[in-house]
Symmetry: C2
Subunit: 384 residues, 2 copies
């Protein structure tokens, strides 16, 4: 274990997470929670066009042929519009890894046993998982939110315990959870964002853990885009072609059993989603409301973004796709959201690994915007 | 100028660059230099298959579904094969920006005047150019090699002055330089690598500066791949469509005037290349000989890699493409070399910007390889 460092915050937050978070469950309260969601959505505003125009004007003066920094320039403009800052800062980054289990694993849809979820939560917190390593390298802190792991997880200072229920029900037989439970899990995500914002976070990186959750992501994508499960289901952690066909058949059964209505994104989320996916929906909405950029990871966070954009269309222009997953259904999600990912490296791990790799690109966009000299400052002649 | 920091080394090298480098020119010596090139090529060995097998085996034990880190896994294996280290290190990175001028600018092939080259060299050294900013962010040091700028450049501790001649001749009328000059500029690149290796560098990032050098890159690509100038010529720093057509016609004239033989890469380089491109050929060959990874940037460094692979085919498997340039001809170079870039962000600036962005991906590959826990260490069950 010599190569495994402990998980430690790379930079001091202004305040710690609420001590009360430890071991606190969260019960759904349908009526009050519906009002909380409506209030959250109401706080999401459009991108700031004035700041975007200022950033665009600055880009034109910088020491380079106009447009030659390509997507870095576009990103700097978007980040200005999200944060309302002409010089956005991305120093304080937090990866939020939402974790939950899936009853549908009873149907044999994953290459790994469900018991892996709590052990992976502990591995992330111990510092030896891929996301732990990549976050450490990027100077980002990691927070895990247990919103619905089925088995006990060892306490940890970086673990937010807000288990709504111990894993979802088997969606092949009926709803994965109640509407109130989906809403409660969503609001956990919003509470996490509120705590991180109070602690001074500049950028949120969305991650997830949950054996079986590519099945939920595929079911959500089918329900919300109309694509057939044969297209949205992929190998996940490593199914063979027969396994993928079985997974698609299970999703067909789940859609037939639940008949989710795409006009009711919260209903779709409850029927065929997951607790950690609901938490990510809340993270995305609350990030947008707080004007903190949220970087998506792959297929699962993308499915959460589909739900979030369904609940609150103004969230869409603020979405940032971290990477293109090797899981084929992710392409449909990206097309539906009009997103082009920043990183394309055939990853299919999740955890937030693609989001944290994209952080380097976002920081490059901000650094060139804020630190480059202008033609005038450098005394260099412009175009002929 | 408040946003412009001075260029400073982010990490201490074991030894400084040779003090004698300042103001030293380099005269070509045909016969001795041919022998030096042959010796350099002779030192290039194949990738180390044994180390690659060890890295591959370690990747299989790490806490993730096999292959789920995609290209990060492939890269970690390649870096093992290049460096002969099961745990490669990439901490000490140096961007080498080769600079030179091009006589063909007399034909009006660039959107900017040739006088910009020395000013851009100074801007890079002053810390305000895009590459200065991105290298600072990545913790890489920057070295500029003046191998053929036409006008005087202010001295600087990070400038290697080894001007072979003050810019090339106009390739539309005859050879850009003599074979001895091309060889001399190539060997400057090898000398720079030797100095950097002695100083403890772990990874070299190839960059360039030189108004007119996309014309040279396009001419080299046409000469070496057979593609028409209409395909290899692009807008460069910002030509309009009529300007691009004119540039292609100038390249046609250069090819007709020189009739370069693709079986003689050094002859092609001398006829239609550039001094900074020749320097980059030497950098690529010497990096491979020293088993130090060299990360290519865009079109110009790619054209240099085409020449290097022509001179020494064993260099090819060790090439790492940093990014995919928005300049269309770069695609032909990547196809000819069998390379897939790590970053694809519509950049078309050069300077090494795409290479330094790719450094984050290379470091992520090494960090996951060397710091992740294994399934066994984390006590997590494997696949069902």
């Amino acid at each position: 274990m010599d190569a495994i460092a402990m998980l430690a915050d790379p930079w001091p937050f202004r305040v710690a997470w609420p001590a009360a978070m430890q071991g606190r469950g969260r019960e759904g309260d349908g009526v009050e929670d519906e009002a909380r969601l409506a209030a959250l959505i109401g706080r999401i505003e459009p991108l700031d066009e004035g700041v975007m125009a200022s950033v665009r004007a600055r880009q034109r003066r910088l020491l380079k042929p106009p447009g030659s920094l390509g997507r870095l320039e576009e990103l700097s403009i978007l980040l200005g519009g999200i944060t309302r800052r002409v010089r956005p800062a991305l120093a304080r980054a937090a990866v939020v890894v939402a974790a939950g289990d899936h009853g549908v694993t009873a149907e044999g849809v994953s290459a790994y046993p469900a018991a892996v979820t709590p052990r992976m939560v502990e591995a992330v917190l111990a510092g030896g998982a891929a996301i732990s390593v990549l976050a450490r390298q990027a100077g980002a802190r990691v927070r895990v939110v247990d919103v619905g792991v089925a088995a006990p997880v060892a306490p940890h200072a970086a673990l937010w315990s807000a288990r709504v229920r111990p894993g979802t029900a088997n969606m092949a037989l009926g709803p994965a959870m109640t509407r109130a439970e989906a809403l409660a899990a969503l609001l956990v995500g919003a509470e996490v964002v509120a705590a991180e914002v109070a602690a001074g976070v500049d950028v949120l990186l969305a991650g997830e853990l949950g054996i079986g959750n590519t099945t939920a992501a595929a079911a959500l994508t089918s329900a919300l885009t109309g694509a057939a499960p044969a297209v949205t289901a992929g190998p996940g952690t490593g199914l063979d072609p027969a396994g993928v066909r079985h997974k698609a058949a299970v999703i067909e059964r789940a859609l037939a059993a639940n008949r989710p209505d795409p006009a009711d994104p919260l209903g779709v989320l409850a029927a065929v989603g997951g607790l950690e996916i609901a938490c990510l929906v809340g993270l995305i909405l609350a990030g947008a409301a707080a004007r903190v950029p949220v970087v998506l990871d792959g297929y699962i966070t993308g499915a959460a973004a589909l739900v979030a954009a369904g609940l609150a269309p103004p969230v869409r222009p603020a979405l940032i796709a971290g990477h293109r997953s090797a899981e084929g259904g992710h392409r449909l999600v990206l097309e539906a959201l009009g997103l082009r990912p920043l990183v394309d490296l055939d990853l299919r791990l999740g955890e937030g690994t693609g989001a944290v790799l994209a952080l380097a690109v976002l920081r490059a966009a901000v650094a060139t915007l804020t630190e480059m000299a202008s033609f005038e400052e450098a005394g260099v002649a412009g175009p002929l």
